[in-house]
Amino acid sequence: MAEIIRMLALSPTMEKGTIQKWRFTQGDAVKSGDILCDVETDKTTMEYETIASGALLRILIQAGTPVTVGTPIAIVGKNDEDITPLLNQLHSPAAVVEPQQPTAAAPRAISTPAAAVLSPSGHEEPAHQKSSPLARRIARQHHLSLASIQGTGPGGRIILRDVEAAYKSQSTRLKAPSPALTPMTGDTVVPLSMMRETIAARLTAAVTSIPHFYLKGTVVVDGLIATRTAYNNEHPEARLSLNAFLLKIAAEAIKKNPKINTSWNTDSIIHHGSIDIGLAVALDDGLITPVIRDCGRKSISQISDELTSLIAKARTMELKPEEYNGATFTISNLGSFGTEEFTAIINPPASAILAVGSVQRVPLLDKEENDTLTVHSIMKLTLTSDHRTIDGADAARFMRDLKRMVENPLFILM
């Protein structure tokens, strides 16, 4: 039976490769162990060794074309074998993109023409890569991308030992304890919780792979506080949180600046149809970001209600994956601790995160009142952006619109 040969990850970080030269021509006999072609990876040129034997029935990708890992590049089988069904299968869209079912792990319907799809952790999963269920589960737990793992089971199936090897090599990189860190008398060594491990892996990946840049601004919140106080005095049973206002206003500012609501996808940028904002919630050991979906279409009181229930679930660790995965924008508010201003690390797949400082009473020069000093409530906001998807001016326009609406909440309606 003819077999599809796919582009493999020939280096641990390879996501794409370009075939430089085919060593065989169509119709040649190849056997397991032969060097099928030379592939230019992200690092160097590697020899692609085939594990299939038979006739090279079809070369699907000509030399010079870059393809993502997992893309079919050739078909090997018996001479004179009919490969039409296989070709038809390849031409159907399902062969290129894994059928995306709305699973808990991928709550957002992301449509992408590329062979790779974005998983909630921001890794790419190649299409049709054989792997055991156990290997998939363990890889998911450790936020390892199957695309970067070489399968050693039958037919290249990724099995437990492959994931363990990949995890070990990754964790040696991440965790190699430095000699300076030898525990001394009086020190306590606390093993990593699953959450701490995830935070470490995700944020290390974010900081090392995303070009971050930062914009700072100060907003006057007198109007916002007055509006909130007035509403809450009238509705003591359903008080609105300051965060609910910020989520709503951020969503409105995003509507005017849709580039903020995007995700980098290696060979494309995904513009999200829904503004899903995560709010970082501190837990005893770690943090989690429950996500309010579609903030652009919700009222502040709706957002406030949902936040209340999600934050309660977050504190008791009862959030479901679809309730914390896949934020398209994030807000982190350390104001309640008295922090005046800070910068935050981007939470992929989002492209930006807004860091919110505490409300402070400060004297400001009032231009309309002949430069007299008057006391106002202000807050410092810092936006961290991914420069691959957002340029400085985009971020600045977003901050300008955000400031206008925070200072004049009625502008939300305009």
Partner: protein, 328 residues
């Protein structure tokens, strides 16, 4: 503890229970004067007399029906089938009467009856007398089915089966009657519906029952030499099935090999394979392996007869396959 044969352990169970409860009778071909075709009922006629140990003509459907009627009327009955190959004559009685009567009478009748005898292939007996029929009985709601592999369990499970108010199909094997094992001096029972972990291990779960348990243990010993640590589970009961023990083990070892000497289609082995795939999906590092007998009537030629059945070599090969071991 005394070393007893499987046969004597069964005999002890019958004797102890008959002494305990005068409502117990044994009925079947050659069970009384000849002491049983395989001597499992040895001495019972002398001790309990012909009203409780009853020889019958060669009429499986008849005496099985008599047994079921006696159980409905208040006796506690043990029906011995000379072999399970002959039980097919009595299948209608078992399926339609024994398995259904308690249910269809709305609980007015209980059916305290045990159907026991040797099941599965022995040697040189050809197709009609070498059949492992556990799948057929385990298929039927209303029946319990047990299949011990040690003298200890044979005695303990037979006592539980006799005391049970539901029909229990009790599978023995001709080649197992001379197996010996330790049996406690004091009285005990083994509850129906619990599996036993015969050997703890970390790399693969081997599941079997009845006679092939011997192959499973031999294979596990061989595999240990290759540094493959097998956990071996003896199901002991086929219905109800102790799935929890199997699932817990597979979730630990991530691999599962099942051995069942019945034919593969709709067998206990393939059923467990399906259940493991459903309940342990995210824990499996390899497809579940099921080793059944070949899907053919048993050949008479001895070489082919052995080749048609599960073997130590086949188990080792399956374990290597699902462990991705190099010499697999």
């Amino acid at each position: 503890m005394a070393l007893l044969t499987f046969r004597d352990a069964l005999n002890q169970a019958l004797d102890e229970e008959m002494e305990r409860d005068p409502a117990i009778i044994i009925i079947g071909e050659e069970v009384a004067q000849y002491n049983g075709a395989y001597k499992v009922t040895k001495g019972l006629l002398d001790k309990y007399g012909p009203s409780r140990v009853i020889d019958t003509p060669i009429t499986e459907e008849g005496f099985t029906g008599v047994g079921i009627g006696a159980a409905m009327a208040g006796m506690r009955v043990i029906v011995e089938w000379m072999t399970f190959n002959f039980s097919i004559q009595a299948l209608d009685q078992v399926l339609n009467n024994a398995a259904k009567m308690r249910y269809m009478s709305g609980g007015q009748f209980t059916l305290p009856i045990v159907f026991r005898g040797p099941n599965g292939p022995a040697e040189y007996l050809s197709s009609q007398h070498s059949q492992a029929l556990q799948s057929m009985f385990a298929h039927i709601p209303g029946l319990k089915v047990v299949a011990p592999s040690t003298p200890h369990d044979a005695k303990g499970l037979l006592k539980s089966a006799i005391r049970d108010d539901n029909p229990v199909v009790f599978l023995e094997a001709e080649l197992m009657y001379n197996w010996t094992g330790e049996v406690p001096e004091q009285q005990y029972v083994v509850p129906i519906g619990t599996a036993a972990i015969r050997q703890e291990g970390t790399d693969v779960t081997i599941v079997s029952f009845s006679k092939p348990m011997k192959l499973a243990m031999e294979a596990a010993a061989e595999l240990a030499k290759e540094d493959i640590s097998a956990e071996v589970i003896d199901l002991r009961s086929l219905r109800p099935l102790d799935e929890t023990t199997v699932f817990e083990s597979v979730r630990k070892t991530n691999r599962c090999v099942i051995i069942d000497e019945a034919w593969p289609v709709a067998s206990i082995g393939t059923h467990i394979g399906c259940r493991v795939s459903q309940e342990c999906f995210d824990f499996l590092d390899a497809p579940v392996e099921v080793i059944n007998s070949q899907d053919v009537p048993m050949p008479y030629n001895h070489g082919l007869e052995l080749a048609a059945q599960p073997s130590v070599a086949a188990i080792i090969a399956a374990v290597r396959r699902c462990s991705y071991a190099t010499n697999g």
